[in-house]
């Protein structure tokens, strides 16, 4: 069982698994469906970036869509201007990631070296997103252009080239939609792998420590500000990768992703999938999008209602999100060995493989310290989300 757990927590397994599942679904889907599916994967990648900075590092950023949007516009600008000459959009994609990462680094430096509190990080990132919305919406006139790329204001930038690699001998060979889907899946898998590798390193453990107790980590001698800026930049880069892919996927970009509902939706994806689980970002995105599409067919123009209901449902019933739920179901089917057979000295099942104790469990870390007044706390790491379900509803915990 420990062997299986070691594989599950290794950096490559989950990304490869997700990619294989996605590609399998791709073989079963029509070309038309692949267009939507590619979009879901792209959104999932943005959700991954949020789960990384929020679920793993504890930074609640409302700005991931801002980085996503900036990158998409960057891809458009570079693509429109350069790719007719170079026959490829790799530079555009790279440029998109760089633009997003640069914005994230600058914003991160300003916030974390300025020692602003968590609430203000949320407010500032939200403000940046909304300011970008205002700015990009008002670029409607023909005078608003970068090179040959018209910014297009509310209506957006059109004629963004699809992705093309510019193989010698195949200039201007743009990717078809089905190929775009596969490419996007590949991008997502690579980004996912990179994030997992980062989190397994020494740096990753420090990030977890910062999330658990920032002050203590600082007193141990870690430069917390620098660490947070690095995390934030990586998060921005991942969101930027999604943004570049988005522009290449849709050949179009407008200011809509900078809106509040768009930013909020990413948060919902992460929560539904399971905050901090990383793979939950993709699961949550697909679940919410699929449910909205399915129910939207029955009750037209009710997506907001569905999303709201999902949010309530998740918070009340499945606060850890879907991923722990799935894990629990799996463990019911695949029984774990009895306690006595586990490694001696490992106090909990999770402590066996060193990495697992670092895995946050659902909404636990959001609970303020006040919840530790409950007498039954110490067993927390042995109790999964299911114990939460079994607790009597309505036991009020004294609020601070």
């Amino acid at each position: 069982m420990n062997r299986a757990r070691a594989v599950w927590t290794s950096p490559w397994f989950q990304p490869v698994l997700v990619m294989l599942v996605a590609l399998l679904v791709g073989t079963l889907a029509t070309d038309f469906q692949k267009v939507t599916l590619a979009l879901w994967v792209i959104y999932g990648l943005v959700a991954l970036s949020l789960d990384f900075v929020w679920g793993r590092a504890g930074i609640f950023s409302f700005g991931q869509t801002a980085f996503f949007g900036v990158a998409a516009y960057a891809y458009g600008v570079i693509g429109i201007n350069l790719s007719p000459n170079t026959g490829e959009t790799v530079t555009a994609l790279v440029g998109a990631v760089v633009a997003a990462a640069a914005l994230a680094a600058a914003l991160g430096y300003f916030m974390f070296y300025g020692k602003v509190g968590d609430v203000y990080v949320a407010i500032i990132t939200l403000a940046v997103t909304l300011v970008l919305l205002q700015v990009m919406t008002s670029t409607a006139g023909p005078q608003y252009h970068i090179g040959k790329a018209q910014l297009g204001g509310y209506n957006g930038m059109t004629n963004i080239p699809s992705m093309e690699f510019g193989y010698p001998g195949h200039p201007g060979d743009q990717m078809s939609q089905p190929d775009t889907y596969n490419f996007v899946v590949l991008l997502a898998g690579v980004a996912f792998f990179f994030v997992r590798v980062l989190l397994r390193s020494g740096f990753g453990r420090v990030i977890t420590a910062i999330r658990e107790n920032e002050l203590r980590t600082e007193l141990l001698g870690y430069d917390v500000r620098r660490a947070k800026v690095i995390v934030f930049t990586v998060g921005g880069a991942v969101a930027g990768l999604a943004g570049g892919a988005y522009a290449g996927w849709g050949n179009f970009m407008n200011p809509a992703p900078f809106s509040l509902p768009a930013a909020a939706l990413i948060v919902i994806y992460v929560l539904v999938g399971g905050k901090g689980t990383l793979v939950g970002a993709f699961i949550g995105t697909v679940a919410v999008e699929w449910l909205s599409t399915a129910l939207g067919g029955i009750l037209p123009s009710s997506t907001t209602l569905v999303v709201g209901a999902i949010l309530i449902g998740v918070v009340l019933l499945v606060p850890g999100g879907l991923t722990p739920l799935i894990g629990h179901l799996v463990s019911r089917i695949v029984p774990s060995p009895p306690r006595a057979l586990r490694k001696p000295g490992a106090g909990t099942p999770d402590a066996g493989a060193g990495e697992d104790v670092w895995r946050p469990q659902g909404g636990r870390h959001d609970q303020p310290r006040v919840s530790s007044r409950r007498a039954s706390l110490p067993d927390r790491s042995e109790r999964g989300w299911e114990d939460h379900l079994l607790q009597p509803v309505g036991r009020p915990i004294p609020a601070d």
Binding site: G202, N213, E218, L219, V224, G345, S372
Partner: protein, 182 residues
């Protein structure tokens, strides 16, 4: 000043890097991480590789006597064990100066005894400054004592002398008192 360099203006993490290890009165550990990971984090802050840190962890755990509890979440430890863990975390970062603020607060008699041994062994490799109100603990440590009152040094010396110092007695028992010259 630490080793001749002023440290007042440094940021907290820089001070820690310079070699001051502080253990506050209330245990401040990562409750949801294991004992081992707590110590690892403290060690890694000063080392360049994860391997080095892991080796240091084993040494420290042996020194503070928490080897059997290495895998338990730190929040599950008894109060005394949590205090030792935190001392262990201070030690793991190999400081030159260790400040311990009331390390025996809330400890049982046996735990206090063990702490005396621990502090004595720490003093072999670092300068240890202990702030304490428990006179018995101070006595067993058998080290030079400084009495502070309202931010000023009131008396210094061995505990046996201090115990008979009238000014110290007055302050300790709460009688009205003025430090000469203030």
């Amino acid at each position: 000043m630490l080793e001749g360099r002023p440290i007042t203006r440094l940021l907290p993490h820089q001070r820690a890097q310079r070699g001051i290890g502080i253990k506050l009165q209330v245990p401040s550990i990562y409750r949801d991480l294991s004992v081992q990971e707590n110590v690892w984090l403290a060690a890694f802050a000063k080392m360049s590789s994860t391997r080095q840190a892991e080796a240091a962890v084993d040494r420290v755990l042996a020194r503070i006597g928490l080897v059997e509890r290495a895998g338990s979440p730190a929040g599950e430890l008894s109060h005394g064990e949590q205090q030792w863990l935190e001392i262990g975390m201070v030690v793991a970062s190999s400081p030159e100066v260790i400040l311990l603020d009331e390390p025996t607060a809330g400890m049982t008699h046996e735990e206090t005894n063990r702490t005396v041994e621990l502090v004595r062994s720490l003093a072999k490799t670092a300068t240890v400054v202990v702030v304490e109100h428990d006179m018995e603990f101070v006595q067993r440590l058998d080290a030079p004592v400084t009495v502070l009152h309202e931010g000023r040094i009131l008396a210094q010396g061995r505990l046996s002398e201090i115990r008979h110092d009238q000014r110290v007695l007055d302050v300790y028992l709460g009688r009205t008192f003025r430090v000469a010259g203030s």
